[in-house]
Symmetry: C2
Subunit: 521 residues, 2 copies
């Protein structure tokens, strides 16, 4: 596929009004062809207007047609998997094999959401029949379904250039909900973005859907993002990235004349608690596994375990030694982008300034933007004294927090802000301590994992990729998993409707055979 | 019951640090005994600290115990129904019989939420079992439940002094979710608030729950509300009232270092569309029924139909004449409070300034704060030219919008902001027009009603009392009905947990017999 570098304003290949850019290969520090168009408020306005025009039509597509459309996107992604992974590898420095897996996963997400659409549970259909004889007054017939909230602006993430980017879970769940999408492509992988956008646009065209169902814009600086969250036709926003970027968009959207929901997934240090019996029996294994997981994607993952809390006692030395060894053996690898590399170095300095000691380093960097792995250590009292030590450092670094006893472990847990995840390593004898830790973690995290490092992002019904602030901007939602669709849905009640006027899923006799509750049953 | 005028800070009867106030009888313009304490940031801090301390315990109560606690509140409300209605009538000018009904409804809401708690569907339990043999890597066991978001601040409404106030649906749904509650009582009915708070506190004590499960504060001016939305322990806010008040709280909460969800239910003119065949066959009946409904609660209702859109054609004169007649016959009745009465008068002036003509008036006011009913008229072109005509006037007034044809009716519909509800009056021949109107209304309202005026606030599973901005601050939620509990819930996933550590509803074998999805089924 030849990349043209256009913006995709509906069906139009647009040149953009704000100049061009090139992709950078972070492993070689070389620019890559071709030029990619940059847009601004003008392109956002056209895309949002099309998205609004397409909304009534697309949001009323039948479940069967919408599901088939999602599957068609999946098929189109499969068809370009090899070239998509190759281009993404050039643009991100990530291994091509890993990116092929990511592309496969992205296609799977569209297929999973097609199933969600077909099954229709997300409509949360509820029927409370009329009670004409009720005293003191009759009850009308009440019927409820969920409908899409409106056009959605989605900000592609940098770190997973496919599964959290243009054809990522946000797009899949928004389209599944019946929302139209304006995708803001991340500038770190414009070519991979274009390949994905073509896969989606082809499906829009093949299914004869209105062109405004999907657009992709791109711009430099903050202007394009601001234009998106400000646009009156945009009714919801999702973002995956830094706390600073996410909160700027969030607060801006809340200052609109009509505030709109903005779901931002931002920052998490994913604390890992090593309980005493587990540490005594397998401290080295835990330390080694932790670092292995920490290094995945050069530490550039939302679920990267960045904090390990362990009690200075039996097994601690073995645990620490294993961590040191594994970090020391880690090769330096290219980070995603120069800005991310610079932030990583600054983040390490900030941890050291706050009193963390460097325990180990990986191989030295050779490329300009290689991330050298690092392990730092601090004691519990110091950690509790300075919140700078609980700041995320995006990249291949972790902090070992050495606590004196169980009480100090619990105090560290209580000191933490909202997290996407937390982990506990435990054996049976650790159960009483785990029971004390659990409610602390429940209040602070969206997922809690026992005895695992490799908890890759499963996309299932019970998946939660969310959590209290600052992990996300709204702990009531998840950005991954089948229930992520709820971010884009709102309920509408129909009272006293004649059958002919009711939406098909709500009609008498349930002609579509969808799951519906009747009086809550 | 002797009213003491205290603030309820957990179990403590607090004097307050900001002076006292008395209730006003708006029908007589007389102050009523006793003095009621006023508090500020100090009282909010104590209540929020207690709410936070109580949270872990209360949010982990068994479903059976929590349901029984809610039923106990209902019983306590029933036991004071007569004196509650009598005091509320004195403080609001509303009829005592109506308020007895409201008290009964408030008790019913607690009983309905007790059932919701017992059935456990709100937990949205999901189990995605481990797949140890899956390729290329095994899947861990994933389990999801929803838990309460944390301590909730609830602002009591003025216009329904029981069912939307201290013991209203917000409190019932928050307590059902497992959240602890800090209730900010409305100053327009402090005595009714105290009676309700006592009913709740008695249940807290009878069930041996931590005192911080429920507190009630009160203050003058904005300071107390600001202290509530600012308090770091408060994790969600609900508010029912004016757009100005609601948006001030909303925006303030979004500027916290950690923004929190604020659900505000604010303003709606609940447009009623009279379709041609319905107008031709029963115009007078529709006009009469509309005004009857408009006058309920002296026009002080969220669902008051304030706008009637009708085509100048067959039946129009009869419709208009019936509206005029009914308004002209309406007695003036005391409004809830001097401020609401003043706003009502200002609102009418604003409609006239924007070009609306006064068609009819009810009997003249005798009491100082009596609301004189009013019917105004404007043509469609004028309505479309000035958004001031679409502003809510809280009180016994309505605006008749006379449109030229179907196209202008649709244009008026498209011009509307978000609404709690809309109504269509139609006959079979109106179906094609209704089909064109429906998607416009779906995008703008939370509920759509056919051929009804009296759509009292049913509290069922299919109830939606919500809608796009400015009807509410988040169209994805409802403040009435069984799903209003979702405002206070967030998902948590448990991965790879041993059975002994899992929350009971998620344990293997489903020992509580609760509804759970398994792999989405």
């Amino acid at each position: 596929m030849k990349l043209t570098g256009h913006l995709f304003i509906g069906a139009e290949n647009a040149e953009g009004t704000e100049g061009t850019m090139k992709a950078l290969n972070p492993a070689t520090n070389q620019l890559i062809e071709p030029d990619f168009a940059l847009g601004g408020a003008a392109e956002v306005d056209r895309a949002a207007t099309l998205a609004d025009q397409a909304f009534d039509d697309y949001s009323h597509t039948s479940l069967a047609r919408r599901a088939a459309f999602l599957e068609s996107i999946a098929d189109n992604l499969d068809a370009v998997r090899t070239e998509l992974a190759a281009r993404a590898a050039l643009e991100t420095g990530l291994p091509e094999a890993q990116l092929e897996g990511e592309a496969a996963k992205a296609a799977t997400q569209f297929r999973q959401f097609a199933e969600v659409v077909r099954k229709g549970r997300f409509l949360q259909l509820a029927v409370d029949p009329a009670q004409p004889d009720r005293q003191p007054r009759p009850r009308m017939d009440h019927r409820l379904q969920k409908i899409a909230i409106g056009p959605v602006a989605i900000f592609g993430a940098s770190n997973f250039p496919i599964a959290y980017s243009v054809a990522g879970g946000d797009t899949a769940s928004a389209l599944a909900a019946g929302a139209t999408v304006i995708l803001k492509a991340h500038n770190a992988h414009p070519g991979a973005s274009e390949i994905q956008a073509r896969a989606i646009r082809k499906a829009v065209q093949d299914y004869g859907l209105p062109e405004g169902v999907f657009s992709m814009v791109r711009g430099s600086g903050n202007a394009i993002g601001e234009a998106l969250v400000d646009h009156p036709k945009v009714q919801a926003v999702t973002f995956t990235g830094s706390e600073r970027g996410g909160m700027a968009l969030y607060r801006r959207a809340q200052l609109r004349p009509d505030p709109i929901p903005v779901f931002t997934e931002m920052t998490s240090i994913n604390p890992t608690f090593v309980l005493p019996e587990a540490q005594a029996t397998r401290g080295a294994q835990i330390g080694d596994g932790f670092v292995e997981r920490m290094l995945v994607n050069v530490g550039q993952a939302c679920l990267k375990p960045a904090l390990l809390i362990a009690i200075e006692g039996p097994g601690f030395k073995a645990l620490r030694a294993a961590m040191v060894k594994r970090v020391a053996e880690a090769p330096a690898r290219a980070m995603l982008a120069p800005g991310i590399h610079a932030s990583y170095l600054n983040g390490l300095v900030a941890l050291e300034d706050a009193g963390a000691q460097r325990l180990a380093e990986g191989s030295a960097a050779s490329g300009s933007f290689d991330g050298q792995s690092a392990l730092l250590e601090v004691d519990g009292q110091r950690f509790l004294a300075d919140t700078a030590l609980a700041q995320e450092v995006f990249g291949p670094a972790a902090l070992l927090v050495k606590v004196r006893d169980e009480a100090e472990m619990l105090a560290v847990a209580r000191s933490l802000k909202g997290q996407l995840s937390a982990a506990m390593h435990l054996e049976e004898g650790d159960t009483p301590l785990a029971h004390r830790l659990l409610p602390i973690l429940e209040r602070r995290t969206g997922r809690i994992v026992v005895n695992a490092f490799a908890h890759p992002q499963e996309v299932t019904f019970a998946t939660v990729h969310g959590g209290p602030f600052p992990a996300t901007s709204d702990s009531r939602f998840t950005s991954v998993g089948m229930t992520s669709i709820e971010r884009f849905l709102r309920p509408v009640a129909y009272q006293g409707f004649p059958d002919a006027l009711l939406p098909e899923p709500l009609r008498h006799g349930n002609p579509l055979g969808l799951p519906r509750s009747v009086d809550g049953q």
